[in-house]
């Protein structure tokens, strides 16, 4: 099994914004190894979210190649990309994006249901995950009955309960206060250190960056700083 989880080579992506081309990524070369906790940082429009989306198969590059866990994403159909996201990736979104009509437990079980995991196994894994993330007693609550921090923890539980190869988190702390953000980051770090979950997060929050083992800074679609390279140097 390769140690490389993400490999982006010469990735470029240009958007049309009111007919004006905006270069979101310019010839980006980027790699993530198994077990890394990487933060993609930069100001708005720097390309961090675009890079995260390209890695997650939610967006396609105009040029260059993207490989995740040895699979070349450029050649995959939408359906195959969908399968790849389902089986190998976990997503944590800025706005939690839990399903409002499902309870916390059902939200955590949701992706496993899509994967076809048997009910008993789903239930035990989800319950254990909620307990592990400090959500004991919240299993039957719906998202509307929980705080933002609790919802984000449910979102994290949903993303990692399937043991994904890669956890992608886009501005996970954007809607949280600093105390809840810190709790979330401790949780992500623990998952990274104890369970070896590979995490890539896009953020402009210095606190999030400080918790990541590797910081990558982007500006105008280019990587201008990568702590991994700096350490190697």
């Amino acid at each position: 099994m390769s140690d490389l989880v993400v490999r982006c080579q010469s990735v470029s992506r240009t958007y049309q914004d009111d007919s004006v081309p905006v270069r979101a990524l310019v010839n980006v070369d980027f790699e993530v190894h198994r077990g890394e906790f990487v933060s993609l940082a930069g100001p708005s429009g720097s390309g961090k979210s675009t890079l995260l989306n390209v890695i997650g198969g939610l967006d396609r590059p105009d040029e260059g190649t993207v490989e995740v866990d040895g699979v070349l994403l450029n050649e995959l159909s939408e359906s195959a990309l969908s399968d790849l996201r389902l089986e190998r990736m976990g997503f944590v979104f800025q706005a939690y994006n839990l399903i409002p009509v499902l309870s916390a437990l059902e939200n955590v079980e949701f992706i496993m249901q899509l994967q076809g995991v048997p009910a008993a196994e789903r239930h035990s894994r989800s319950t254990a995950m909620l307990d592990e993330l400090g959500l004991t007693g919240m299993a039957d609550r719906r998202p509307g009955e929980m705080s933002g921090g609790q919802q984000q923890r449910v979102a994290v539980a949903r993303a990692i309960v399937t043991h994904p190869v890669l956890l992608l988190a886009d501005e996970p702390s954007a809607n949280l206060d600093s105390k809840t953000t810190e709790e979330l980051l401790k949780l992500l770090r623990r998952l990274n250190e104890e369970q070896g979950v590979t995490i890539v997060t896009a953020t402009h929050d210095p606190l999030v960056m400080s918790y990541a083992k590797r910081q990558v800074r982007l500006r105008d679609g280019e990587i201008i700083e990568d702590s991994a390279h700096d350490e190697a140097a």
Partner: protein, 404 residues
């Protein structure tokens, strides 16, 4: 595809907007109940027309001499042997009625009319309208009864009453006119005046004496089970060689055509109602999809297949349609059997509805096949209505949806 999960999501999503979906459910229920009730009334009208056609001395099957339909007279008659009834399953036949039915002129002291003079065996006429009519005076006693039974309307036109004598002129088998006086045994009151003006009855043996021939012009057969019509007709055709054996559709083509037309009318009526309803359903589903763009984006982002998204939207439509149809059918059934069970009295329009071959009381007739049609087609429409909203949901790009 995790159908249980999708079904669970669909049902719960319906409860997210209770008022809106309740209104939609109400619309479906009213439409389905309305279709069930109107279908049952249309069926009632349809069966009325058929019953009237069959009871109007036609029967389900009739044996006639060749050419009688084109030129009905005593020359187009035939004689019956002593064992004239073929062997057919007794449980399939309600009754047989041999008759002479010939044109005649009827005269009272004041008026003259043209009529159909019908010689019958009263004991066999339970299969025709004659078995149901109200009689003032007396009915015919037997096949040898030489009195006449005239319609109440004809008696009024002839300005005569029960007990008086009438003169009837008709043609004998030898081509010469026969004329005889008949005392009025009674007057009959059929539904509407058409039959009353048309038919004058006497005993079949009495009429045979008048025309001086032991013949009949028709044998009418009424069936208990119409499904056996084809096989019985085939048996009769083989038995009555040289004669024409015709079913009621051939004898009453206009009524038969109406019968078929009503089948189509029911289907068209259903399409019109459900067609109108489908716009409301599509609109509601599109609104539901558009409100949940971000949610659908997330579902697609985490790996839900487009097929599953389609199934989820279709299930939402199907579930609400299923509930609406079930409630609508039950309400429609209750309205049909409880409220309209005794029929709708149309006496005020008796003359008009008589022309359409209907009775003055319209009794609804609820058929299982119509309920199945409504149920199956409603569910089909439910799926159809969901396809466009489902397509809209599938076209949602996860990235764009999540950015909202």
């Amino acid at each position: 595809m995790p159908i249980n999960l999708l079904l669970q999501l669909s049902v719960r999503n319906l409860f997210r907007h209770k008022r809106r979906n309740l209104m939609l459910l109400l619309a479906i229920t009213v439409a389905v109940a309305g279709v069930v009730v109107t279908n049952s009334l249309i069926r009632g009208m349809q069966f009325d027309m058929r019953e009237a056609a069959v009871a109007n001395l036609t029967g389900h099957i009739k044996v006639l001499a060749p050419g009688y339909l084109d030129d009905p007279n005593i020359e187009k008659s035939f004689s019956l042997d002593a064992d004239w009834q073929p062997e057919v399953p007794a449980e399939a036949i309600e009754g047989w009625a041999p008759r002479i039915r010939i044109p005649a002129v009827i005269m009272s002291e004041r008026e003259t009319r043209g009529v159909q003079f019908v010689g019958v065996d009263p004991s066999r006429e339970g299969i025709s309208f004659l078995g149901d009519v109200a009689i003032e005076g007396e009915g015919l006693a037997d096949a040898a009864d030489g009195r006449v039974l005239v319609g109440a309307e004809l008696a009024r036109q002839l300005e005569t009453v029960v007990g008086r004598r009438l003169v009837l002129i008709t043609q004998g088998l030898d081509g010469r006119n026969r004329e005889a006086g008949f005392r009025i045994a009674g007057t009959y009151d059929a539904e509407g005046t058409g039959l009353e003006k048309q038919f004058v009855f006497t005993g079949v043996e009495a009429l045979q004496s008048l025309v001086e021939a032991e013949v009949v012009t028709e044998v009418s057969i009424k069936l208990k089970d119409e499904k056996s019509e084809a096989s019985i007709k085939e048996t009769l055709t083989g038995f009555f060689t040289g004669l024409e054996v015709m079913n009621w559709q051939e004898l009453e083509p206009q009524a038969a055509a109406m019968f078929v037309y009503v089948d189509s009318a029911i289907f068209i009526w259903f399409l019109v109602i459900m067609g109108a309803l489908i716009f409301g359903l599509v609109n509601t589903l599109i609104t539901a999809v558009m409100e949940r763009i971000k949610e659908f984006g997330m579902l697609r982002a985490v790996g839900m297949k487009s097929g599953a998204v389609i199934v989820q939207v279709v299930l939402e439509s199907t579930v609400i349609m299923l509930v609406g149809v079930a409630v609508g059918v039950v309400i429609g059934w209750l309205l049909t059997t409880q409220w309209l069970g005794d029929g709708i009295d149309l006496t005020a329009w008796a003359q008009g509805i008589e022309l359409a071959g209907m009775r003055s009381v319209l009794t609804p007739h609820l058929l299982m096949q119509d309920i199945i049609l409504v149920t199956v087609m409603s569910l089909f429409f439910g799926v159809l209505a969901a396809l466009y909203p489902a397509w809209r949901a599938v076209k949602i790009k996860p990235l764009e949806a999540l950015r909202r």
